[in-house]
């Protein structure tokens, strides 16, 4: 910030503390923090409220008199609460992430890596397939006419319902492990990429396409020098959707294999044995993973676009 450009009498006159508050109020950091704090507070209240009946029951059965503060404290430290308190979930994450050996089956890192690897493999396969399809579609009118309506229709059907079948059938053929889950992820993630890239590869102006024609550019040159660069923003936008959905695919793909390994397996095992804290910690880690993955693509997007001189 240069002093000259932003100088204005009002700002100079106002007090620095006031200025800070103005900045905090109108920015997004403070509101987000306040809303997050409110969510945590509501979570605690809900935990107390939802766990209280069971706890009261416990106290009455043990014939112990209890005060309200004791009740509250007890509701926040149950072993299998209806709704675990945030700190219980964090403790569980801390225990299973940092204090358990990574190779152990109880380590959440172990499960997260398994889910992450099938997510990434599926995402790569799906993105490659989506790009290939979109290239075919923009170059062939017949493909465009015959395939595009089906791609759009297929987005309206609940694809995740197919997941258990793919897993079991591929298992029967002898393909197991990472690949079936990755196929589900790929199947989910290629749609957004294909649709986004068709839009992106068609985004160059007619003027630019005409210019390429006056240069006597070959189709390959038009593709690499004009269509591909102008499709990149679309590619990144659809990759953000694709990676989030491919994580969902990997998690769902872990359900029908009988809860062996992965975040989805943790969810299922947790629901079998009523381990709510385990479910919530797996859920939180999955959310974190999704946020990090989407964030990474956002960063890659910014770097690539800046290097191409298209930074927003």
């Amino acid at each position: 910030m240069t002093a000259g450009a932003d100088y204005s009498p009002e700002i100079a006159a106002s007090h620095p503390v006031r200025r800070f508050f103005d900045w905090a109020w109108s920015g997004t950091v403070l509101p987000v923090l306040v809303v997050s704090a409110a969510i945590v507070a509501i979570w605690y209240l809900a935990a107390i409220w939802m766990n209280a009946p069971f706890q009261r029951d416990l106290f009455t059965r043990a014939d112990t008199a209890y005060s309200t503060s004791e009740l509250v404290r007890a509701t926040l430290s149950q072993e299998r609460p209806v709704l675990p308190a945030p700190h219980q979930v964090l403790q569980e994450i801390d225990k299973t992430v940092f204090r358990t050996k990574v190779t152990s089956k109880r380590s959440l890192v172990h499960h997260a890596t398994i889910t992450l690897s099938s997510t990434l493999l599926g995402f790569l396969m799906g993105t490659a397939l989506g790009i290939a399809l979109s290239v075919g579609i923009i170059h062939s009118r017949a493909l465009d006419r015959s395939l595009m309506p089906w791609i759009i229709t297929s987005q309206t059907i609940p694809i995740l319902a197919v997941a258990p079948m793919i897993i079991v059938v591929l298992n029967a053929v002898g393909i197991s492990g990472l690949l079936p889950k990755a196929i589900i992820s790929a199947y989910l993630s290629f749609f957004p990429v294909a649709v986004g890239m068709v839009k992106g590869l068609r985004s160059p102006d007619l003027m630019h396409l005409d210019l390429m024609r006056t240069y006597n550019a070959s189709p390959a040159q038009v593709f690499w020098k004009l269509r591909w660069p102008s499709a990149l923003p679309f590619l990144f936008a659809s990759m953000k959707v694709a990676i989030a959905i491919s994580l969902v695919g990997a998690i769902i793909g872990e359900l029908p294999t009988g809860a062996v390994a992965g975040l989805g397996a943790r969810l299922l095992a947790g629901s079998y044995y009523g381990q709510t804290i385990q479910i919530w910690s797996a859920l939180l880690v999955a959310a974190l993973l999704a946020a990090v993955l989407v964030g990474l693509i956002g960063i890659a997007n910014r770097i690539v676009l800046r290097r191409m001189g298209m930074a927003q």
Binding site: S146, W150, T156, I157, V169
Partner: protein, 368 residues
Amino acid sequence: MTRLQWMLALLSLAATGIALVPGLGGSAVAPPELLWFAVLASASYLAFAVRQEGHAIIWTSLLLSSLGAAAVISALGDVAARGIGFWSLLVGSWLAAWLSVERLSALPDGVDAAGRLRRIAVPLLFGIWLLILWEAIVRATNVPTVLLPPPSMIWERLTGSLPILWVDFRQTFLKAVIAGYVIGCLSGFVVAVLVDRVGFLKRGLMPIGNLMSALPIIGIAPIMVMWFGFDWQSKAAVVVVMTFFPMLVNSVAGLSAAGHMERDLMRTFAAGYWSSLIKLRIPAALPFIFNALKINSTLALIGAIVAEFFGTPIYGMGFRISTEVGRMNIDMVWAEIAVAALAGSTFYGLVSLIERAFTFWHPSYRSG
């Protein structure tokens, strides 16, 4: 004729010609003689038509492909018929179908009835041929039906177990999906209107709402099943949470979509908050709201089906899929998936129709 179309025509004729040679396992058997002559006749007519421009080639290639497909399907029942002749007839008629699609889509777009018919016919041909190839390849190469049943078997299963499918559909779609969808979308919209009034909340909630739409929310399914029991209420709860955030984010974006000029105009009319909300801002937000409704129509079905993997009474689409997979009744799974696909696209189509009726003024619906 482009080079590709020439190649398609020649290859198709060559393959069909091979199939018609007696003794190659195709011509000597199953298909009725009449069908066989029809294939022969249409192939020779195609050979004649390729040298002409115009629509003749479209009709003849369509004729050849459908007759060839009929011959292939009728030969499927006979094991001895699946020789070289069978395969080359399949390839030949498939190439003829491709040729007709190429020719059809090369025709200029028309807004008249013929143009509209073409726009439906091309993807329809693609879909039909996908089914024909699936049926022919799966049955001719004897792929075990536990891996991939042919479409005819799925159809038989579908029509044979309509009562079961209806019970599942009622449980999952009519109860869980509809209830969850309505509650989720309504509450998302109401919260969006509230949030829109308070700038602070808007700035604080929007980044979180955007983040939430990217998270694997479906993971709350086991929690909801624990809280709300095995019946449809827990599935509806999952659907509510899944549909809430897309609706919130889109509605908030939509409510600020009205331009400054229009807002100023409302102010000069001395319109209060409510009348400007109802007369200007909600109508302006409709395209965004319908976008969320469309996204949610898919999400809702996915949410309800996946939530059933975590525990249900003994019916429901997700329950049926997961148990029939376990019993290796893959045809039943496909039948259920077909129902789900039909329900999903009908739901989506209905929302799009309503959207068309309400946002007819939007540029994307204006015609020419």
